[in-house]
Amino acid sequence: MKVAVITFPGSNCDHDLYKAAQQVGGDASFVWHRERGLDGFDVVLLPGGFSYGDYLRPGAIARMSPIMDDVMSFAKAGGPVLGICNGFQVLCEAGLLPGALVRNDALKFRSHDVRLRVERVDTLFTSDYELGQILRVPIAHGDGNYEADEETLNALEDEGRVVFRYVDRNGEAVESANPNGSWHNIAGIVNESGNVLGMMPHPERAMEELLGSTDGVGVFTSMMNSLSTAPA
């Protein structure tokens, strides 16, 4: 699995993503935002961080980077694209995913572990999980409050495109488990074709017992396995 990790000026989770991809046996490379072309890559990862300092709006400037034209074409051709945290924000700004990530409802940066419920296991990114499995994964963001108009929200729910939801220890999507005010406790969604996933929590930070959780590994092994079993 050849993995492109896109680095924008201000990305700061690029190395973490790179290591996560390598840990599951991926062949990862950094791609600087001014480079062009993603030929030969099987997966594209958009890392977290503060691309362009979050100036204007998170992701609003990064989505105009030269490489984003290639990311768009890659996604439209069905290539798997995963955006985490700032990467999710970039995907929304670029129109590859619907809705927007606005300021957390408490107006503060939030950094701690959350629990996620896996809502879909038939995606490229979640096939190694069990339906309803509860994951413990860190978040770290100031703008993770997922908003969309009612029509979009209904479409997301009706088409089962909500992949991860914030839940409590019992797996209930209650308000107290929602760290940022996201509609429907949404933590991660896929596009209509299911090949573009955006999520605010950081699975790449939950890859080792030493760091507190291995629940994020499944995202990366799922991609690995989906690709190796996909018809050539």
Binding site: P9, G10, D16, G53, R205, L210, L211
Partner: protein, 766 residues
């Protein structure tokens, strides 16, 4: 030109058109005394120009010149076989094994934070990050040590909220995890918040680079952000007392930070260092180009010549004086290898930053500044950096403090109501209560190496690719130092070391931040001297040398000084990441063991502050030799794999320590049943803050081995209780008295204390 003895023969420099004339008032405004000005004239062999006066004012300020502290700082131990770089560089560096070196340093941003809390604290973090990556190390962790007045003041809440946001936003954006620190609320810091930021950076030993200008003819380059009119004379400002109207008039002296540029500068700097195209790099921090260029020249034993019109500036019409003294953030000064300027430009361009050649290294020992080819400053570099007059003053202890220390406390040791209420009161005191409200605003997990996050005794970052990790903590109980400076400083070092051994780390070295009042006052100088002496003794006893740090004096508002606060930033090494000890209970049925003696010393305690609004009494004594044995015993128990949890016993005493271990991070609390049968008054037994104590838990099958191991180190140890299920509640007995509470009550008090104050009441200025 300078002579061999460092003095200069007068080279006339005509006054620059438009510059003010130098009068005694102008000299005084620059913070120089008459004697110091005479010394300037003697160094120069003539009267300085206005530009030169500004340069001396900055370099001979307390902030850069350490004039009131240098003689005391020389008393501190600074050497050990593992110290690679001691004081005098941007940061200290120690060997942490497996070919890795750790750069670390702490720095204050107290004055700017008092005026503009958000930018003040943010730029504090920015500055300390630059000190680390200019050594060639990649920053891997940040800690923040903060002090404020009591939270019942709207102004204090505004400062607290702004400082936390500033620390968080800057570190979060650059992507450096925050792994710990401390926060104290006490009216002793009402007018002068203390904001100290510490950074740790890792590198391979051979990647170390220092900041000495060498290679005559090598170009000097300004790299990163442009130079603006912000923060002019920040270093001098930081060396003065604040007045009540400081707010308004001082804002132009506060710098503004841009963490996005910092992130680019960090990557570009590390790439520059790796390229070999540069021979030296230094942050333009306090006193900007002036200090970075003159210190590089001073260290290298060479000279520098700079053309001010070549410096990239943010606005037209800046004078050499302004350019030299600007403290605009996110700038670096580098010495490039001659002929490789193009490489420097290419690397900076990739990171979308600017670089400009602004001068060159010379061999005449002069710090020379030109404007359009005309000399506007020509100063011998070595006397400028090292010739700052230093003072040893008379120190006399304040009679008022002696009175507080000798106060009879007995009437305050009979609790009103029951002891259980006292426990809940203490757990709900912002000093003891959970600091989650703070560190949940800090990214603690970015870089995927944080093995112990904030909230424990010390933060831990693993060294990827090895079994090793580094641990760090910051500590100081300013009340203890206030009541008895020498003992208090020893306690600060001792507590830091206990914190490290509790997570399983060997205490290795310290960086210190000496936050004090105005040293020109005899009782403040006394505090400074005694604290340094206490620190010296403790560092020597624990073999934890001082590798650098920062001095922040004049922390006074309208004549009222802060508690003397020598913050200790201590680092330690963990050989095996699989042997990191948690600080909260893990298993029902474990035995609870107290290491050390419960001596019931209650002077300067949180109990007295919370129940009687008192900071008084004799602070706890420190037995350095006993502390050392305790550290060894704890490390030995960890290596033997006998310990399931360990926690230093400090603020709030034994009762609060046990409660904290029971509550943990709130995810999975445990019950406790414990008792101590000493002959002390229950209040002092439960809430006294005696030093030299650690509470640990172990499997009951190991308790015998734990006690035997402690005995080998002559450390008192006894089983005091058992870990229970959460439903069993918390009970702690002292003879016939007892404290009991439900986990729910304790959780509410401990976790909601700070949110209740900060999330409900407005933080606007009162």
């Amino acid at each position: 030109m300078s002579k061999a003895d460092g003095t200069a023969t007068a080279t006339p420099v005509p006054p620059r058109a438009g510059d003010p004339e130098i009068t005694p008032e102008v000299v005084a405004d620059h913070g120089l005394s008459e004697d110091e000005y005479a010394r300037v004239c003697s160094v120069m062999g003539r009267e300085p120009t206005f530009t030169e006066l500004g340069v001396f004012s900055a370099m001979w300020s307390e902030h850069c010149g350490y004039k009131n502290s240098k003689r005391l700082l020389r008393l501190l131990p600074t050497r050990a076989p593992w110290v690679i770089q001691g004081p005098g560089e941007n940061a200290g560096v120690i060997d942490v094994g497996d070919g890795y070196a750790l750069a670390f340093k702490i720095e204050s941003h107290n004055h700017p934070s008092a005026v503009e809390p958000y930018q003040g604290s943010a730029t504090g973090v920015g500055g300390i990050l630059r000190d680390i990556f200019t050594m060639g190390a990649r920053p891997v962790a940040v800690l923040d040590s903060l002090r404020f007045g009591d939270l019942d003041s709207g102004r204090v809440r505004y400062l607290f909220d702004g400082v936390v946001k500033g620390v968080g936003d800057y570190g979060n954006c650059v992507g450096i995890p925050n792994i710990g620190g401390e926060v104290v609320f006490d009216r002793g810091y009402e007018g002068n918040p203390i904001v100290n930021a510490m950074c740790l950076g890792l590198m391979k030993r051979e990647e170390l680079i220092t900041a000495a200008a060498s290679g005559v003819g090598n170009p000097l380059m300004a790299v990163g952000a442009r130079t603006g009119r912000d923060g002019i004379h920040g270093a001098t400002f930081a060396s003065e007392e604040l007045s009540e109207d400081a707010d308004e008039s001082s804002r132009p002296q506060v710098q503004v930070g841009d963490p996005f540029t910092e992130k680019l500068l960090l990557e570009a700097s590390l790439e520059l260092i790796a390229s070999g195209a540069i021979s030296a790099i230094q942050d333009m921090g306090a006193a900007g180009i002036t200090s970075s260029a003159s210190e590089m020249a001073g260290r290298g034993g060479s000279g520098v010549e700079m053309e001010m019109t070549d410096v990239p500036v943010r606005e037209d019409g800046m004078t050499p004086y302004e350019i030299l003294l600007s403290e605009s953030q996110e700038r670096m000064l580098v010495v490039a290898e001659k002929g490789r300027e193009g490489e420097v430009h290419r690397i900076l361009e990739k990171w979308e930053l600017e670089a400009a050649v602004i001068g060159r290294v010379t061999d005449d020992g002069m710090f020379r500044v030109l404007e359009n080819g005309k000399v506007v400053a020509d100063i011998p570099a070595l006397p400028l950096t090292d010739g700052c007059p230093t003072y040893e003053r008379e120190g006399v202890e304040s009679a008022e403090i002696i009175g507080l220390r000798d106060m009879d406390l007995s009437e305050h040791l009979i609790p009103e109501g029951d002891l259980s209420k006292s426990l809940l009161l203490l757990l709900g005191s912002p000093n003891v209560a959970s600091k989650q409200w703070i560190y949940h605003q800090y990214d603690t997990t970015v870089r995927t190496s944080t093995a112990v996050r904030p909230g424990g005794d010390a933060g831990v970052v693993r060294i990827r690719g090895t079994q090793r990790a580094v641990a760090a903590t910051t500590d100081c109980n300013g009340r203890f130092v206030y009541l008895q400076p020498k003992t208090g400083a020893m306690a600060a070092v001792a507590e830091a070391a206990r914190n490290l051994v509790c997570v399983g780390a060997m205490p290795t070295a310290i960086t210190n931040n000496l936050n004090f009042g105005n040293p020109l006052k005899a009782h403040i100088y006394y505090q400074l001297r005694e604290a340094v002496l206490g620190m010296r003794d403790a560092c020597a006893a624990f073999e934890t040398p001082v590798t650098g740090g920062n001095v922040s004096l004049f922390n006074e508002t309208d004549g009222k000084a802060i508690y003397p606060t020598p913050v200790i930033g201590m680092v330690g090494v963990i050989d095996d990441v699989d042997r990191i000890t948690p600080n909260a209970f893990r298993n029902e049925g474990d035995d609870i063991v107290l290491l050390g003696e419960n001596t019931g010393e209650i002077g300067g305690s949180e109990y007295l502050y919370v129940t009687a609004a008192l900071v008084a009494g004799e602070p706890p004594s420190v037995d350095l030799e006993g502390e050392k044995r305790l550290q060894q015993a704890m490390l030995s128990l960890t290596h033997e794999g006998l310990v399931t949890a360990a926690h230093d016993c400090s603020q709030g005493g034994l009762a609060c320590t046990l409660a904290e271990m029971a509550l943990g991070d709130g995810e999975e609390p445990f019950g406790v049943e414990a008792g101590i049968d000493d002959e002390l008054r229950p209040v002092v037994s439960l809430f006294g803050e005696a030093q030299g104590r650690i509470v640990l838990s172990c499997n009951p099958a190991s308790t015998g081995a734990v006690l035997a191991s402690a005995e080998r180190y002559a450390v008192p140890a006894r089983k005091i209780g058992t870990v229970l299920g959460a439903d069993r509640g918390f009970t702690l007995k002292v003879r016939d008295a007892s404290v009991s509470a439900s986990l729910a009550e304790m959780t509410e008090a401990y976790f909601q204390a700070i949110p209740k104050i900060m999330d409900v009441s407005p933080t606007a200025e009162s």
